[in-house]
Amino acid sequence: MNRDDLLKKCADRGVADQGSIESVSHLFYVYLLSALQKGQRVEVPNFGTFGTRVVGVKRARKMPYFETEKEFADKVNDRYRELKYLVVGKYELSSILGDEEYRGREMPHDSIVDQLGKERLVDTQRDITLEEYERNLALSQSKEKKTMPKLNLKGEGMDEDLKSHDAEEGSSPRPMLREVKESRGPSPVIQAGVAILLLGLITYGLNHFGIIHLWGDKPTKAKTTEPLAEPEPYVPPSTSTEPAQPPAGDASQTPPVTQTPTPGTPSGAGTKSSTPSIREMPKEPPTGTSKIDLPISGSGPYTVQVSSWNTRGKAEGEVAKLTRAGLAAFVTEAEVAGETKYRVRVGRYSTEKDAAAAATQLSSILENGIWVARNSQ
């Protein structure tokens, strides 16, 4: 609108004469500019307010703005004036984890259509006709909507029953239906851990019972023919005719007349350890035999028992090996718990001390023999 048009229209209304209208319009413009320059605002009744605000950061400058008065703004917004903010639904917590679920009406603006009618919603800015709008609406409604699983989340239709139930129960909250995933087993980490444990147990068992060998002592076949390690604290001398009674001073030490090294003794002269060594001893006599100072053969009530066997043949084999090594070995029979045992014994000694000394020497020799025999193989 030109300035002349404005003046003409104003003069047509007959408010004032042309000269005063001209001067007022000019002065209004001048005062508006000066006020904006000073940073002031200018109010025009029933129209709005002119003012300045600072705009920009790097290149800050004042920018004039216009604020419409409320009545005039309502006039401008005449088409949508009656529309108000309409609450359609609400997001509510559906789980403890904070998931939210929308509950309410469907979102599109047909709620406004219900409220005000279709013509109000036609968007004149985009030049959409009413027919076109209706066609679009029909198209959108004809599309198949996704079917959700039917869960009675709101408890519709069950309100009365549940309400009565709630009233009876009191403060207990209403149970909610929800889709629950099928519970799968334990997590794969736990499964893997259990599998590793089982594997370890199986391998340990196999190794323990000797089916496979991974660690520990290698099981030897000699153990199958292991002689019975029977604890015999008191063994009468081989020649039963001779009296086995020790002197009166040694009455308290009656049991060890014959040196029978028990398996539990720390000296390592047990029958268990000594017997396999003898069997595997080389044919050449060990050098350690020359160290025996005491007589290995003679006459006396004391002997040294090396081992005992269930069969006579094995005992004689042992004796042969011992004699080959230069020891005077022999076999005696004895009954222990109803079974006959064949005992391999070495030497005869007149006193108990001699026998004990010989036994220690023998044990050391035999022990050495084990190692020699094993290394030579």
Partner: protein
Amino acid sequence: MRDFHGLPPFRSVTRGNIRRTGNFMSQEELVNMISERAGISKQTVREIIAAFASIWSEEIVSAGELMLDDIGEFLVEHRPGRKGINTETREVFVIPPKDYLSFTPSRELIEWSNKAT
């Protein structure tokens, strides 16, 4: 030539219950200054300004736009409706569409507002 004497000082104006602080030129002050300057009665000045406002507003409502050569351009724009959520109550509501008036100031107005006094 333009003359800028007799401008109101920096102060606050109370209108009704609302106290508007800052630089503000009220309607009465504008009318007083113009009447003093032009030598016309206040009543006629008030009527003339009201006639201007009514002419402008009628033009805007009927045509949807108003071009004032000196001041700037007024344009009615459309803002479509949309969905909104109240973050406190988690309520979903429809913000209705709206027609509003936008103002683009003229170059002269911007220059004058940025001029040093």
